[in-house]
């Protein structure tokens, strides 16, 4: 119950102001098609440099929570999901909006998001300290395997090709070794003076997530991409609240599905929303109404994608393993303040950890309250043409990456990595495992070197890294995740081939 002691810290004027700013800004950014939650959080990191660690994390956490929920606004009013997590919301939400029930759909979406989100954060509150204590038992070999596990799980589950996902992870791990070696001081892969200090994580995150989006928007050319905005009529909030409460089945399915999926590293909100929608449809007595503007569809999808947010941070805060690309960006936000997740975070910086987690809990409530009022404004922002958005994001990316350490080298790295990622993505490679490799690479290397030294003095490299219950357990998960993904890939190819024949 340690978290209760730090509740007051969220309500200091600066912290609460940042929470409000992050929540409202996140709702607007989330509603903007093309601005994913990961990219929004990455672009916000430079604004946290001058803040204290807890305050910076409050801003980033609030933005993460509300961008996921804000994506429902454009999904409902424009039929364009603000983020992949909101795809399932479009199915019933937009149909309801077209029937003149846009306000009802938005209210259901924000109320369900808040219920799912609060449950998810409570899970984060109660699971994190237990796992953080467990993490104390981890030695260098275990931490090495954990870092590899983070890269392989995301590499194999994210994207359509397991080999390309794992290859993306390898590219990220290699990029993390560029610069001077920590122990020997030797130069490694420095083929341009800008890379002397290694690749700055924040600049890389901005480039890898923002620039491919900018280029995708450019690729649409001079088309009029403005969508028709459906007007919203008034609807009683109490009626919507009663409707959410009465839809216990859809709400429970959404919340539980989202929470479980959130705990699995690499599985994002997009899957949470779609799985919850599908399960809710299967268990509903009115399954034929799904897709025709059924409230249960919105409730299941939105409660799931916000319930996923809290649990997706559990592996990050306990084991330093980001469970999702957005969690990886949040890790970047922690590292720039010199704070390492895991037991160090809860033992040495409990104020930072608990203020951040508590702010996410309060942020869910604020997101629900403000979401209902900001939805109209957010929907208008969502109609901003994509070419304007592209130019804005490019400008923010350049200024943001420069402001990290006032270095033009970071700007060059940002754009180079971004352009490279755009072309790689066109051929089935994925940014998420590459980012995970880049972030987890130093953790993996430090523990590999430390482990090698211990191994040389004791049992030897093989026995040290490849024996022991925990090592074998982690290796088994690495192998199982790869085998499972290969099996899923082969199965989906077989189905595609059958469909082609039909």
């Amino acid at each position: 119950m340690e978290f209760i002691y730090y509740f007051g810290d969220v309500f200091t004027p600066i912290s609460f102001g940042l929470l409000l700013l992050g929540t409202i800004g996140g709702l607007i950014l989330g509603a903007t098609p093309g601005l994913s939650p990961t990219m929004a959080v990455a672009l916000l990191i430079p604004f946290t440099f001058q803040l204290e660690a807890a305050q910076g994390l409050i801003l980033l956490g609030a933005a993460y929570t509300s961008t996921v929920a804000g994506g429902a606004v454009s999904a409902i009013l424009l039929k364009i999901p603000g983020a992949p997590a909101n795809i399932a919301t479009t199915l019933d939400g937009h149909t309801m909006a077209k029937k003149g029930q846009g306000a009802r759909a938005l209210q259901l979406s924000f109320l369900a998001s808040a219920v799912g989100g609060v449950f998810g954060v409570l899970l984060l509150i109660f699971l994190t300290p237990v796992l953080a204590k467990w993490a104390l038992a981890f030695g260098p070999s275990h931490l090495f395997w954990l870092a590899i596990l983070g890269v392989t799980i995301i590499g194999s589950l994210d994207g359509s090709s397991v080999v390309k996902g794992l290859l993306s992870g390898c590219i990220g791990l290699w990029l993390s070794t560029i610069g001077f070696d920590d122990i020997m001081g030797a130069q490694r892969f420095i083929f341009h003076p800008s890379l002397g200090g290694g690749i700055n994580i924040i600049a890389a995150l901005i480039g890898l997530f923002a620039i491919p989006q900018v280029l995708s928007m450019f690729a649409k050319g001079r088309k009029d991409t403005t969508s028709e905005l459906i007007s919203v009529e008034k609807h009683s909030i109490m009626d919507a609240l009663r409707e959410v409460v009465s839809s216990v089945r859809a709400l429970s399915i959404g919340t539980i599905t989202g929470s479980i999926i959130g705990l699995i590293p690499g599985v994002g909100g997009q899957i949470a929303g779609l799985v919850a929608y599908d399960q809710s449809k299967k268990f509903s007595s009115e399954r034929e109404k799904f897709g025709t503007g059924h409230p249960e569809g919105i409730i299941a999808a939105e409660s799931a994608n916000n319930a996923m947010v809290g649990p997706s941070l559990v592996p990050l805060l306990t084991l330093s393993i980001p469970g999702s690309p957005t969690a990886a960006v949040l890790l970047g936000g922690l590292l720039i303040h010199g704070i390492f997740p895991g037991s160090d975070l809860f033992d040495n910086h409990p104020q930072v950890a608990w203020t951040f987690i508590n702010s996410m809990l309060i942020g869910q409530v604020l997101m629900c309250i403000f979401g209902l009022y900001v939805a109209g404004l957010a929907a208008r922002v969502a109609t901003v043409p994509q070419y304007v958005m592209a130019a804005i994001v490019l400008g923010l990316a350049v200024f943001g990456s420069y402001s990290v350490q006032s270095s033009m080298g970071d700007v060059y790295v940002m754009l180079s990595l971004g352009v490279m990622m755009y072309f790689l993505e066109r051929f089935g490679f994925s940014a998420a495992p590459l980012v995970l490799g880049l972030i987890l690479g130093p953790i993996a290397e430090a523990n590999f070197i430390q482990g090698s030294m211990i191994a040389n003095a004791t049992s030897g490299l093989g026995p040290y890294f490849l024996t022991g219950t925990l090592n074998l357990f982690l290796i088994a998960i690495v192998i199982a995740s790869i085998i499972y993904s290969v099996w899923m890939e082969l199965r989906s190819r077989r189905y595609t081939a059958k469909e082609d024949l039909i």
Binding site: L173, W174, T177, R222
Partner: protein, 151 residues
């Protein structure tokens, strides 16, 4: 999507993988390259696998590139490259951003170029954006950016 589209990127990735492996296994001190060697081995295996699949025409993932995409994207990409690699430092951040932003709006705004109102709109958006950027970065965050001409 034709086979050569997959061969080129996977070939480049394989070449990078081989270069990383070559550097890792030949450079000294070898202790500094212990971890890169580990990565390079897996990197090369996966990259060659991907390249072989592309050569055999069995690589199917990704949407690939079309001439339309390249034609649409090329002007914006060129502006972005000039902006970042030359103009930002050569002209100063704010001047370069103003010019790049305005050019991008002109390039991608579907409104006709012969209408004065659309030029006015583009100019207004640029001025508003730059005012926000100046307020955020110069005044709020106090980031000192290269300022060569004007401001």
């Amino acid at each position: 999507m034709n086979r050569s589209q997959h061969i080129i990127p996977s070939g480049i990735v394989a070449a990078v993988g081989l270069w990383v492996a070559y550097i890792s296994f030949t450079q000294q001190p070898s202790e500094a390259f212990l971890f890169p060697r580990l990565i390079a081995t897996i990197f090369v295996v996966l990259a060659l696998w991907t390249f072989a699949k592309a050569l055999l025409g069995r690589s199917r993932t990704g949407a690939g590139l079309s001439w339309e995409i390249i034609r649409n994207m090329a002007p914006g990409l060129l502006v972005a490259l000039i902006y970042v690699f030359w103009a930002a430092k050569g002209l100063g951040f704010y001047t370069a951003t103003t010019i790049a932003f305005f050019i991008l709006l002109c390039l991608y705004d579907p409104a006709p170029h012969n209408v004065l109102k659309s030029w006015g709109k583009r100019l207004l958006i640029t001025v508003c954006f730059m005012a926000v950027m100046y307020g955020l970065f110069a005044k709020l965050l106090k980031v000192y950016t290269p300022r060569e001409i004007f401001f």
